[in-house]
Amino acid sequence: MAIDSGFTGKDFERLAFNINPGGWAVETERPIATLLGSCVAVCLYDPKLRMGGMNHFLLPSKRAGAGDDTDVVLAGDYAMEVLVNAMLAKGAHKDRLVAKAFGGGNIVSSIRMAIGDRNAEFATEWLAREGIPLTASDFGGPWSRKVLCVPNTGEAFCRRSPVNQAIAEVVKAEADYEQSLAAPKVKRVELF
């Protein structure tokens, strides 16, 4: 399904731009990159248009009971809809889309509700429900991952990295933010 460009992952890394948690992009030329801990990134590709996109989400879905101001772009259900809609808006057809998905590492703590596993499960189930074939995936394990999506060929590259000091700091920030989203909001009474 993907076209072999003959370039290496390193070549594409030099050309790529990065998306952060909650980010997404649809491109026809420039490679898209992201760094994952327990988050998941899904790459979508329309082979007819030679157009691809990628998202990066932190949680499977927006939590019930969380405040309305929860950062919904970080939730998988929102992130997947936004990405598919962006692809469709640029002319893609849903029945042509194929997916590759990465991430869901469990690298901060085994008792943190295995958020990586839940993200991976969510992505797999969501794609199956929507009838989008998942042609490649690399999920789980105690690694961070750098993912590159090449939009005009459908190629995807994944580099697993052991968790060193620098990566641990990024992952901890990601985990802290996720925990902050889960914390109940305090209702304040405003007096006029």
């Binding site: 290496t8 580099r159 990295s161």
Partner: protein
């Protein structure tokens, strides 16, 4: 000296072709050199191999492994084993043996021995997987993949062989092997040792891709073959330890159970191919570990 200084020193030594091998590796080096001549008679090669009983046993065992014995006839002599395997594979096995011998003569402490054993187990699994993946998935030359698997962490073996000269190197902060600068220097040492051993350019190119670490999904090159074999290997390298702050993940990762990698490959899937090839992989890995 810290890890970085030691790795720099060893890489510089190797860069001057100043590899400090143990003396009994000389026999194996003679075998490798003899095999550089494509016209050398099989009988001569067999005679040289027989001078090193463990290498001779390994050559026969690999010739009888499922990966090479589809006809099923058991081989019991070195000459027939060399004929079945071909010179390129015998040369790879001689290199594998040389790699192990790098460690054998040193006054190895228990930790060094343990790391050497783990590194060899890791290497044999990566080698066996690379051989099968080359034939079934990436369709690159399986013999070259076998050789690349054998040498893919050669710097680690060299480091272990020299650890006795740097007390505390192995004991000091195992997680430190994962730091970015240390990983880069491990690559430098691998590169220097491979060049000192005159490893062919296609394998060097694959190793460059391996060090960069980006696995194309689906995989297509020799470098991808090595990366995928590394990801699938059930035993981790002691020089790429898993985050030991989380014992469950570490244990899972060490047995290959921590992550799942899957892809559609034509009419098949990676997991189906691996299931079908399990006996072949285990047989070859086992023969290499004799």
């Amino acid at each position: 000296m810290d890890k970085c200084d030691i790795l720099k020193t060893l890489a510089a030594e190797a860069g001057r072709r100043d590899l400090n091998f143990q003396t009994h590796a000389a026999v194996t080096m003679r075998v490798r050199r003899a095999l550089d001549d494509p016209e050398v008679p099989v009988a001569t090669v067999a005679k040289l191999i027989q001078a090193e009983p463990v290498l001779a046993a390994r050559v026969v065992a690999v010739a009888n492994s499922v990966a090479f014995s589809s006809a099923g006839r058991a081989i019991v002599d070195v000459r027939s084993a060399v004929s079945r395997l071909g010179f390129r594979n015998v040369r790879s096995l001689a290199t594998a043996f040389l790699v192990r011998q790098m460690n054998a003569g040193a006054k190895a402490g228990p930790l060094q021995q343990q790391m050497a054993t783990q590194l060899w187990e890791h290497t044999s699994h990566v080698t066996a997987l690379a051989h099968v993946l080359a034939r079934r998935v990436t369709h690159v030359d399986a013999e070259v993949a076998l050789f690349a698997g054998i040498v893919h962490e050669i710097g680690g073996f060299y480091l272990l062989s020299r650890a006795v000269d740097y007390p505390g190197l192995l004991e000091d902060d195992p997680a430190g092997w994962n730091e970015e600068d240390v990983l880069a220097l491990q690559g430098e040492l691998d590169r220097a040792v491979l060049r000192a051993l005159a490893v062919p350019e296609p394998v060097m190119a694959a190793m460059e891709a391996f060090w960069q670490g980006f696995l194309a999904m689906p995989p297509r090159t020799l470098g991808d073959t090595l990366l995928l074999a590394e990801d699938l290997a059930p035993v981790a390298s002691p020089f790429h330890p898993v985050n030991d702050a989380h014992p469950k993940e570490a244990a899972d990762a060490a047995t290959g159970a921590a992550a799942s990698i899957e892809m559609i490959l034509g009419a098949d899937t990676l997991s189906a191919i691996l299931k079908e090839s399990a006996e072949e992989v285990n047989s070859l890995a086992g023969a290499l570990q004799l």
